[in-house]
Symmetry: C2
Subunit: 228 residues, 2 copies
């Protein structure tokens, strides 16, 4: 390998590490937001707000690094595909970060009121979704298309859990009007999770594309817009 080639591979490896760090950061922030709901732990929620600047700064640094690798190294084939994938994954992770912040803001409002019901389903969806985010990034870093495919499949389970919780909360609102604001916050938190699962699915699809050069989007397996 030439010195340029080594330099380039080091750049790609750094890009992957940064994305993995970003993925771990947004997954942790999501965990804090949900812990804030279950335990009413206000410190966990503060950490979500504080961490946002870090996520945003890293997002711009990753875009910048990807751009420089494209400009200076003029890569082809899989190296080009991985950098294009990195740019897309980076955008997905930033949206996940935004959704974590939105979730923590909602949890702060929820915690100002008595708990509506034992928050069982939501932490369950949240745990699935956090796992999807971590797995999609692991698949990205290790080029693991089998893991990426399993993430795509998990999205259906999350959609199902979300639909069930959605229907329950609608019933609750219909039968107890005092529950409306809280049930609505819970419903929108659940919807944030469903969106995060979609972003993790996008990441997994990008992994399959960059490793295999095969585009599985819109292949009929994903039913993106059908959840409520």
């Amino acid at each position: 390998m030439t010195s340029t080639g080594r330099h380039f591979q080091a750049g790609i490896d750094e890009l992957k590490r940064e994305l993995a760090t970003q993925g771990a950061t947004v997954a942790t922030r999501l965990a804090h937001a949900v812990r804030g709901l279950a335990s009413r732990d206000i410190h966990a929620l503060d950490e979500v707000a504080i961490g946002d600047a870090e996520v945003n700064a890293r997002q711009m640094a990753i875009d910048d690094k990807a751009f420089k690798l494209l400009a200076l190294q003029q890569p082809v084939a899989i190296d080009l595909r991985i950098i294009v994938a990195a740019i897309k994954v980076n955008a997905d992770l930033e949206r996940i970060g935004d959704l974590a912040v939105n979730t923590s803001e909602r949890v702060i409002e929820l915690n100002a009121e008595p708990p509506l019901k034992p928050y069982v389903d939501l932490p369950r969806i949240s745990a699935r979704v956090q796992a999807m985010v971590r797995e999609s990034l692991d698949a990205f870093v290790s080029r693991d298309t089998a893991l990426a495919s399993s993430v795509v499949k998990e999205d259906d389970d999350v959609d199902q859990l979300y639909r069930r919780l959605f229907a329950e909360l609608v019933e609750l609102m219909r039968h107890d009007s005092t529950s409306v604001p809280r049930a609505l916050h819970l419903l929108l938190v659940a919807r944030n999770f469903e969106r995060i699962a979609d972003h993790a699915t996008n990441i997994a699809e990008d992994v399959i594309y960059y490793v295999e050069g095969r585009d599985i989007r819109h292949a009929g397996t994903k039913q993106a817009p059908s959840a409520p």
Copy 2:
């Protein structure tokens, strides 16, 4: 200009045209979804569902074209920035398309019930959001950073309209439990619009970045996660 240079510019121009077509298509589909709500026009809603395959196919074709331009032409500076921007804009347009489909599905459910109230605010938000989508794409095609900046500013107005409608619908649900399912659908339609406005804002920010090489994201002007 060399023959390769002309070939490359023709490729860039084609990429821009395809993105503009995609932008116009998703804005029209959004218009159909909302017309279906106001007029109970079932044909308008059918068109949204039918158009989804076209949007998905064009999305993959645009990604493919951008990728080939990167691989074969090894562009630098602004040419590289425009192709990277095209890849991001393409992803935003695809999400807008998904949100239009989700909106039309909700409208179909709403139309199965008597109208909840005269749907005045929603068409107003929708009109603003459609304009943002069209303007962000116009700015992309014509490298118009002033237009792009005005799109970024409009996002605040949409957030405000959305927050007002949200509060109204919550009040409605609290005081009339029979309104819950319909008010909730309307609320989630409004939230779809607010998300679409965010995607248009992303596109506008990408335009400013690719034209000026300046990253305005997270500069303190955008308050992405603060809407309900």
